[in-house]
Amino acid sequence: MLFQKKNEQKRYSLPDNVLLKAEDLRVNIKIDGAVLNAVRGIDLELKSCETLGLVGESGCGKSVTSKEVIGINPSNCSSTGSILFKRKDGTVLNLLELERDGAEYRAIRGNEIAMIFQEPMTAFSPLYTIGNQMSEIILIHHPEATKKDAKEKIIEMMKLVGIANPEIRFDQYPHEFSGGMLQRALIAMMLSNEPDLLIADEPTTALDVTIQAQILDLMKRLQSELGMSILFITHDLGIVASMCQRVAVMYLGEIVEFGSVRQIFHNPKHPYTGNLLRSLPRIDSDREEKLYAIKGVVPVPVDLPEACGFHERCEQCMEGICDKRFPPVIEVEPGHFVRCALYGKSEG
C-alpha cells in the first residue's frame, strides 16, 4: 500500500535557485459547521537564501499559509493545490502529498524546514529544561548522536545566538528566561540542523521594540552566516521593509500583490497595498495632517462571492467587473505581480 503510493508519486522539479513553490494553495477551516476559506488559491515562490515577507492584516491567512508549509495546521484544516519543496539532496517533493506527522514529513521538519513562533514563551513546555527540549531536535534527526554531542551542539548554537552563560542556561527552565531570550533559544534550536528554510511567524510581535531590534538583527546575521531562506510572516510593514528582499501582500486569503520590496513600497500597484502604505503613520517623513483611512472592515471569509476580495472597500472598484469575477494575476513589470482588474488587457 505504502509502496504503491510512493510509486504513484509524480516527479516534480524546480528551477535551480527556487527552494519552495506553492501553486493554487487553498486551505479551508471547518469551525462549528461553517467553512472558513482561510487561503484562497495562492501562488508563492521562494528562492534560495532570500527573505520573503508575507504581510497582511489579521485574518488574511498568512499564518495558516505558513503552518501549511510545515504541515502543522490542526486537523480541521483541509488543503488543496501543491507546495513543492526542494530537499537538501536535490529531490523535489510536494509537501501536501506527504502524510501529516508521517515519518517522511517529520524528517523534513526541524531539519530542512524549521519554524519560529510569535510567542516564544509558549513555544516551550514549562516542565522540561530548555536544554532538554533543545537537544531533542539534534537527537531526532541524528540518531547516531549522543546526548553529550547534542548538548555540545546546542551550547554552540546558544553562543551563536548570543545567550550568555549557555552552560548554565542549558539546565534552566523556560520560566527563568525572558521573552527575548526564549526567542533566541527557539531560533538557536530551530537552526541547529541548518535548515534550508526558516518560517518566522510574527517572531517579534510579542516583544518590546528594543528587543525586537535585537532579534531582527540576529536573524539577519544568522542568515548571512548560515545561508537559509526565510519566510517572514508579519503585519508590520516596517519590519518587511528592513528584513525582506521580496514581499507578498495578502488580503482575505489571496496574494494581491507580489514583487521586490522596492517595487512594493515605491511603486505599489494594487489599491490595497497603496492605501495600506498611505494609512500608516510615519516616523521618517514629515507629519501628514491626516492619515488615509481605508473604509469599511475586512469581511468574514465564509461563503465569499466569486469576486475580488477587496472590492467592497476599494475606491477604484469597477462595478460589474470587480464584484463579478476574480481578477487575473498580471505581471505589471518584471517580477512584479498584481491581482487586480485595473491592470487588465488595456495595459497588457
Partner: protein, 336 residues
C-alpha cells in the same frame, strides 16, 4: 531555591497545624452536641440493662472527662488526652477505649482504600488519555457517557444495585469480605479468591465516582495540553506525535492529577463509610455508623477527627507535590 522551597513547606505546614486546631474545636463541639451529656445516657443505658452504677464510678468518670466544667475545659482535657496519652476517649458502645476499636478495624479499611485507589488510577488515566487523543470518536463518547453517569450515581444506590445484580447472577449477595464457609476457615487459596470476589463490588462502588471524576479531569487536562502552542513547536522540530503526547502532554496533564492523590485517598477513605454500611463490611465505616446510631459520640467524633486530619494532610501533601512537580508552579507558589 532550596531554602525557598523549605520555607514554602514550613508555611504550608503551619497553616495545616492551625487548620487542625480549628477542626478539633469543631469536632469536639459535635461530640458534645447530643442533648444531655453522654455520661447520663451511658448511666441510663447501664441502669436500663439492670446494672447498677455506683455514684463513685459516675464521679470518677465525670472528673476524667471534666463533664461538670465549661466547654473549653472539657475541650482542653479531650485534646491533652489525645496529644499526650493518645487517648481518644471511651466508647460506651464497645465498652473499651476508642483507640482499641479503631485499631481493630483500621487495617481492612486502609487495605481496601489503597487497592481501590490503585484501581482508580490504573483505569482512569489511560482512559482519559485515550478519550482526549481520540476526541469525538465512538470510544470517547462511550467513556464520556459512562463517566458522566458514574459521577451522578449515588454510592449507596450503586452498592445496592450491584448487590442485586450479583444475587441474580450468582445467587450470592456478596456481603462482607468472606462467604460464610470461609469466615472462620484458615487462609487458603480458595479463601483468598473468595476475598477477591467479595472485593469486586466494594472497589467498584467506592472507586467508580473517583474513577469517573479523574477520567474527566484527565481528558480535559489532556485536551488542554494538546492544544497548547508548545505542541506546534514540537511538531515543527519533527518530533513524533507519540512522543509529544507522552513526553509533554501526559506529563503536564498528569501533574494536577498526581497532585490530587492526597485528596483522592481521603475521598476513597470516606467513600468506604457508606459502602461498608450497605455491604456490611467489617471496616471503620460500619463502626462509625453504629456509633452514630447509638450516639456513641467519642467513637464517632474521633473517627470524624481522624478523617479530617487525613484530609488536611492529604491537601498538604498535594500542595507540596504540585509545587514540586511543576517548576513553574514551584516558583509561583513560593513567591505568592
Amino acid at each position: 531555591m532550596k531554602s525557598e522551597f523549605l520555607r514554602f513547606v514550613i508555611k504550608k505546614f503551619l497553616i495545616m497545624v492551625l487548620t487542625v486546631f480549628l477542626i478539633s474545636l469543631a469536632v469536639f463541639y459535635i461530640i458534645t452536641l447530643p442533648p444531655g451529656d453522654f455520661l447520663t445516657n451511658y448511666v441510663g443505658q447501664l441502669q436500663a440493662a439492670g446494672e447498677s452504677v455506683s455514684q463513685e464510678t459516675i464521679d470518677k468518670l465525670k472528673a476524667v472527662y471534666g463533664l461538670d466544667q465549661p466547654f473549653i475545659v472539657q475541650y482542653w482535657k479531650w485534646v491533652t488526652n489525645i496529644v499526650f496519652h493518645g487517648d481518644f476517649g471511651y466508647s460506651f458502645l464497645w465498652k473499651m477505649p476508642v483507640t482499641s476499636v479503631i485499631q481493630a478495624y483500621i487495617v481492612p479499611t486502609i487495605v481496601l482504600s489503597l487497592v481501590t485507589m490503585l484501581f482508580t488510577y490504573l483505569i482512569s488515566i489511560p482512559i482519559g488519555i485515550y478519550s482526549a487523543v481520540h476526541q469525538y470518536s465512538l470510544g470517547d463518547y462511550l467513556f464520556t457517557s459512562i463517566g458522566f453517569i458514574g459521577m451522578a450515581v449515588p454510592n449507596f444506590l450503586l452498592g445496592i444495585i450491584l448487590m442485586f445484580i450479583a444475587f441474580k447472577l450468582t445467587g450470592d449477595t456478596m456481603l462482607g469480605f468472606f462467604s460464610a464457609k470461609y469466615q472462620t476457615a484458615p487462609w487458603s487459596l480458595e479463601k483468598f479468591i473468595d476475598l477477591l470476589k467479595h472485593c469486586i463490588i466494594p472497589i467498584l462502588v467506592i472507586g467508580l465516582m473517583n474513577t469517573c471524576g479523574l477520567m474527566r479531569t484527565m481528558r480535559s487536562q489532556m485536551l488542554d495540553e494538546l492544544s497548547k502552542n508548545y505542541t506546534l513547536a514540537a511538531r515543527a522540530k519533527g518530533l513524533k506525535m507519540r512522543v509529544i503526547r507522552y513526553k509533554y502532554c501526559v506529563r503536564a496533564a498528569i501533574n494536577p492529577i498526581a497532585a490530587s492523590i492526597g485528596w483522592s485517598l481521603v475521598n476513597i477513605f470516606t467513600g468506604t463509610t457508606i459502602v461498608a454500611i450497605v455491604l456490611n463490611l467489617p471496616s471503620m465505616g460500619r463502626v462509625m455508623y453504629d456509633a452514630l446510631l447509638d450516639q456513641d459520640m467519642y467513637l464517632a467524633g474521633s473517627w470524624l477527627f481522624l478523617m479530617a486530619i487525613m484530609t488536611v494532610i492529604g491537601t498538604f501533601l498535594s500542595d507540596i507535590l504540585l509545587a514540586w512537580l511543576d517548576p513553574r508552579a514551584r516558583k509561583e507558589y513560593i513567591q505568592g
